[in-house]
């Protein structure tokens, strides 16, 4: 069964008097456990696509089915719940809360979801160990290296055991070596069954994905899944 099904998605932004069609008549299907790289020039609509997939934005037209459920018609609170339970975000600039420690940042989605402290602590301990951050638990983001920060962010994205991880240029602020580590980490998660969608400019990173989608002017220009073999 397809995890994500987009049909006839339109997203129009109003910029002054002119309308900008960020996404036009987009149909896309992504299966469970896929590893997809979304590429394309700036303004091609790939960030808009990612925001739509993450339920941070609503399309002007079309339907979005996540795990078979139409999520475009959900109320904001229901969408928040879906984000909380099914979707993990990894951002280019990490987006850690500066005043919280690494452990607290990782626990944040569970805190927001109202999971009891005891279970939170157990899961965070496990996550810290899994991401090699055991002795960084009480460090604040400004005391961590870029690679460590992104590992904390990935730990946070996975702590609720989502079905889908959306990564927006996850290596954009990292050097080649730590970027490589982060990609390995994400690919490891994908290997364990999590669907991974990465937006990237970097062709080498894009090439590592099993499926490449190239966007152009709000449309899918190339999709390796449908490419003539």
């Amino acid at each position: 069964m397809a995890l994500i099904e987009l049909a006839g998605i339109e997203r129009v932004f109003q910029l002054g008097d002119s309308e900008v069609h960020a996404l036009t008549a987009l149909d896309l299907s992504i299966g469970t456990g896929e590893y997809v790289a979304v590429m394309g020039p700036s303004g091609s609509g790939k960030s808009t696509l990612l925001n739509l997939l993450g339920l941070l934005d609503r399309p002007n037209a079309g339907t979005y089915r996540l795990e078979g459920r139409d999520v475009t018609t959900l109320s904001p609170d229901e969408q928040a719940r879906v984000r909380s339970e099914r979707i993990g975000f990894v951002f280019q600039s990490f987006h850690l809360v500066p005043r919280l420690t690494a452990a607290e940042n990782i626990a944040l989605p569970m805190t927001l979801a109202g999971i009891p402290l005891k279970e939170r602590n157990a899961r965070v301990t496990k996550a810290l160990a899994g991401f090699g951050l055991e002795n960084r638990a009480d460090h604040r983001p400004d005391q961590l290296s870029g690679g460590q920060r992104q590992r904390v962010a990935i730990a946070r994205a996975t702590i609720m055991q989502p079905a889908l991880i959306l990564a927006d240029e996850p290596t954009g602020n990292l050097d080649r070596h730590t970027g490589e580590e982060v990609v390995n980490l994400l690919e490891g998660l994908n290997a364990s069954g999590v669907t991974l969608i990465v937006v990237t400019h970097d062709p080498t990173m894009g090439a590592r994905a099993r499926r490449q989608i190239v966007m152009e002017d709000g449309r899918v220009d190339q999709d390796s899944a449908h490419a003539p073999a």
Binding site: L56, R83, R99, L100, L112
Partner: protein, 402 residues
């Protein structure tokens, strides 16, 4: 989000920006401290005045000669305008009034007192044995005026403490003969030092039997009659009965004025209570200003933390969660401010009491409760708008501002 988590999150957010937090806490605490100190001043003034009035005696009804207040021009009054004087017999007749427990006539004048070559001018109060208990004076040496026929005063005097000091120094005063005007009197008692009490300084007073005073001043009129009602509840009854008897004695004319200490007290109480309320109102304005400041601070916080709000939304926070987190923060700022302000206010009131020991500068309970709850309410009220603004932010826009 669970409540303890919301509170912890709000606390961390508040402590994460110490300057901002300190400023709004300061503003709120100044507001609350102003309420506490100003009402302490107002209520202290009220208590001080009430205390001063109470010290002249309890359940006191005072009779003064002459009719106070005007009833318009009355041709009958034009003929008999001179009010009858109060006499010792008038006072004596009041002893039969059932609602009255004690009566003391009072004649006042000034004279010269001398002893051992020292001479000074003094105020002389001519009265009876009951004058001292009615006025709540205490005799520290010797005893008060003797119980005797009011028309036959023995040659004795009770003197104020300052007179004793000036005339006798460290030597014993009781039993000594002094000269008062042209009389020789024996000192039988000394009053406890009290200090200033409503215009009459008892420390410089000489009390003699009323008939003696009248003879000295060559008059048979009284300055006042002091009447003590049996109880607080009996005061109106005593007032009416006193009025009735004096009217009868004065051939049906109401030519005396009867005032009760209670009435004076109630007037001052009301007046100064209103003053306290007014002052509290002024102080409440500073609370409102503090509330607006908290709102400003929270609005800045929302702008400062736009990226964080976007992140929270991406991580699955509902609008309600975000609203609650910001409201909790605003409530925290104002409640900490309120508590700090309360402590500052109590400290200020304490300092006032230390500086002016006679002035009972205690903030009234209602003011403290009203001040604290107004602080909390304004903090919450002004926190609603920023919290709603935070909850309404578009997550995509918010995430880009990081």
């Amino acid at each position: 989000m669970r409540l303890p988590d919301t509170l912890r999150f709000a606390r961390d957010a508040a402590t994460g920006y110490p300057l901002r937090t300190a400023l709004s806490v300061l503003a709120m605490s100044i507001g609350v401290a102003a309420v506490v100190i100003l009402t302490a001043l107002g209520d202290g003034a009220r208590r001080y005045v009430v205390g001063q009035f109470s010290s002249i005696g309890t359940n006191l009804v005072i009779v003064l000669p002459g009719r106070s207040g005007t009833g318009g021009f009355n041709p009958a009054n034009a003929i008999t305008t001179t009010p009858r004087d109060l006499t010792v017999d008038d006072a004596g007749s009041l002893r039969r009034v059932p609602a009255v427990s004690r009566v003391a006539p009072l004649a006042v004048g000034t004279s010269e007192i001398s002893f051992g070559g020292k001479l000074r001018e003094v105020m002389v109060a001519g009265s009876t044995a009951e004058f001292i208990p009615i006025r709540n004076f205490t005799v520290v040496q010797g005893h008060g005026l003797p119980e005797e026929d009011w028309n036959r005063g023995s040659s004795v005097a009770v003197i104020g403490n300052k007179i004793r000091e000036e005339l006798f120094g460290n030597a014993p005063a009781v039993g000594q003969l002094i000269r008062l005007g042209d009389r020789r009197l024996r000192v039988v008692g000394v009053l406890k030092p009290l200090g200033q009490g409503l215009g009459m300084n008892t420390d410089e007073l000489v009390i003699v039997p009323v008939s003696l005073a009248q003879a000295m001043f060559n008059s048979n009129t009284l300055f006042r009659i002091l009447v003590e009602a049996r109880s607080r509840e009996a005061i109106p009854e005593a007032k009416a009965q006193v009025m009735e008897i004096l009217k009868q004695r004065h051939r049906g004319e109401e030519d005396v004025t009867v005032i009760t200490q209670d009435a004076i007290l109630a007037t001052f109480d009301k007046l100064l209570g209103a003053l306290t309320l007014g002052v509290a109102g002024i102080a409440a304005i500073s609370l409102a200003v503090a509330g607006i400041l908290v709102m400003n601070v929270m609005l800045v916080a929302v702008t400062q933390r736009t990226g964080e709000i976007g992140l929270l939304k991406a991580l699955g926070a509902t609008a309600r969660t975000i609203r609650l987190a910001f409201l909790a923060e605003a409530a925290m700022l104002s409640s900490v401010g309120a508590v700090v302000g309360y402590l500052l206010g109590q400290l200020g009131a304490f300092a006032l009491r230390q500086a002016f020991p006679v002035f009972p500068a205690y903030p009234p309970d209602w003011a403290v409760i009203a001040g604290l709850s107004t602080a909390l309410a304004t903090g919450l009220l002004f926190g609603v708008m920023p919290a709603r603004r935070a909850a309404r932010l578009d997550p995509v826009q918010a995430l880009m501002k990081h």
